[in-house]
Symmetry: C2
Subunit: 245 residues, 2 copies
């Protein structure tokens, strides 16, 4: 890799997966609604989402991200908020809900099916995602996008440290690296802090946990905000234009 590094353009583009390449949070939101309906006979439906979030956060260090973790937290929350009155048949319904989520088709976000093959012709593409290894491999396989990505990295957290190790492992200078994702906290801020390029493409719903705090947004380094991934090729062209710096 050559060139004036102050004006470096990205050669490697990494994408987050859930809610950047394909829909994910929507399935969790629907599951929460169904859990609410399931538990309605036992209680009012006030505060269930917050209770579930509290359980998920308490279990995060132990169970990590992903569907199985969500399933265990749903069951734990259901037992707690019904004060142990939930029937086993309804716990079984929660297990069915988890399996149904697992089987849900992988729906690409708008523009993804066109933009990824296009960018794969000019850039090295990778995926960097949190979550469950098997889940993410499985979704990648079913997405039809696998041939376009040179590497798929499933990590247990997306910290500056984790990104630094990945860039070292793949021998990518940060200024040649661009990360695209829907989470400021996980996809954009740590990469920008390392001297890489960050592109934030928000999804309609952001999981509470992924919302960046105001303080962490007060970064010197800029990141770019795009409305949808269809705008990414144009942004890359402007970055590469000679008068840009």
């Amino acid at each position: 890799m050559t060139g004036d590094d102050r004006h470096a353009v990205p050669e490697v583009i990494a994408f987050d997966a859930d809610d950047t390449l394909w829909h994910n949070e929507i399935h969790y939101a629907r599951a929460q609604q169904r859990l609410q309906a399931l538990l309605a006979p036992y209680r009012g439906d006030d505060g269930l989402v917050d209770e579930l979030y509290r359980t998920e956060m308490a279990n995060l260090a132990m169970f990590g991200y992903g569907l199985k973790s969500f399933g265990l937290s749903m069951i734990e929350t259901a037992i707690r908020v019904t004060r142990g009155r939930i029937q086993a048949g309804d716990v079984d319904q929660i297990l069915d809900l988890v399996k149904e989520m697992k089987r849900a088709p992988v729906e690409l976000l708008e523009h993804v099916a066109e933009v990824i093959p296009t960018l794969a012709r000019s850039h090295t593409l990778m995926v960097i995602t949190k979550g469950d290894l098997l889940d993410q491999e499985d979704k990648m396989g079913r997405s039809g996008l696998a041939p376009y990505f040179c590497h798929v990295e499933v990590v247990s957290a997306k910290t500056e440290e984790v990104y630094r190790a990945l860039l070292r492992k793949h021998q990518i200078p940060p200024q040649r690296f661009l990360m695209v994702g829907n989470s400021l906290r996980s996809d954009v801020l740590p990469v920008v802090a390392l001297g890489g390029h960050g592109v934030h493409i928000p999804y309609a719903i952001t999981w509470q946990h992924e919302q960046a705090s105001a303080t962490s947004r007060e970064l010197d380094q800029p990141y770019v905000h795009l409305e949808h991934v269809g705008l990414l090729p144009g942004y890359l062209e402007r970055l590469a234009a000679p008068h840009h710096g």
Copy 2:
């Protein structure tokens, strides 16, 4: 890497983790006993282990390996074998059991604490393990062994295909690669089939799923069986001796 490949000695040694470096299956066996005790008031305790195994196999493609998967399968089995009569408080006990397993200290197998640092001076060491990404990273971190391993690869399955891809990725010729593990099926046979070295070190308990079938044992290629990992350095010395071929 140089030398006559027909007499190639391994330069990279990969270890399985669970029940090769540290105790694992014993925690699952104990959990099964506690599940049996928990469900005894609802039913006789006959056949629970088989029922649980049946659930785990049915869920394997969907949930994969690891503790969370085991937890979900325990709950599903408990509901089924009690015909829905299990109380929510007892489901909660199963969740507690899963958390307790997660918090269990990492106990190294005998000889591991001495052999790994010794081998790390002469060989490139890696870990190749199935299971949950977070679980395995966490156990590696708590084991004290992390500094000795150049790579830790958590994979969703240990097939010939997966080993081939890993060797390609790390640019390791199969004949320079030795895999050590307690599962013939996952650790030894696929590596030997690729032309690598396999060392089988059985653990006291083998999960039914990891037991190799008689037919798959009828391989042309040999693999080596050692009683414990303390014998590995001596085996490697014999392999490297000039008269060995």
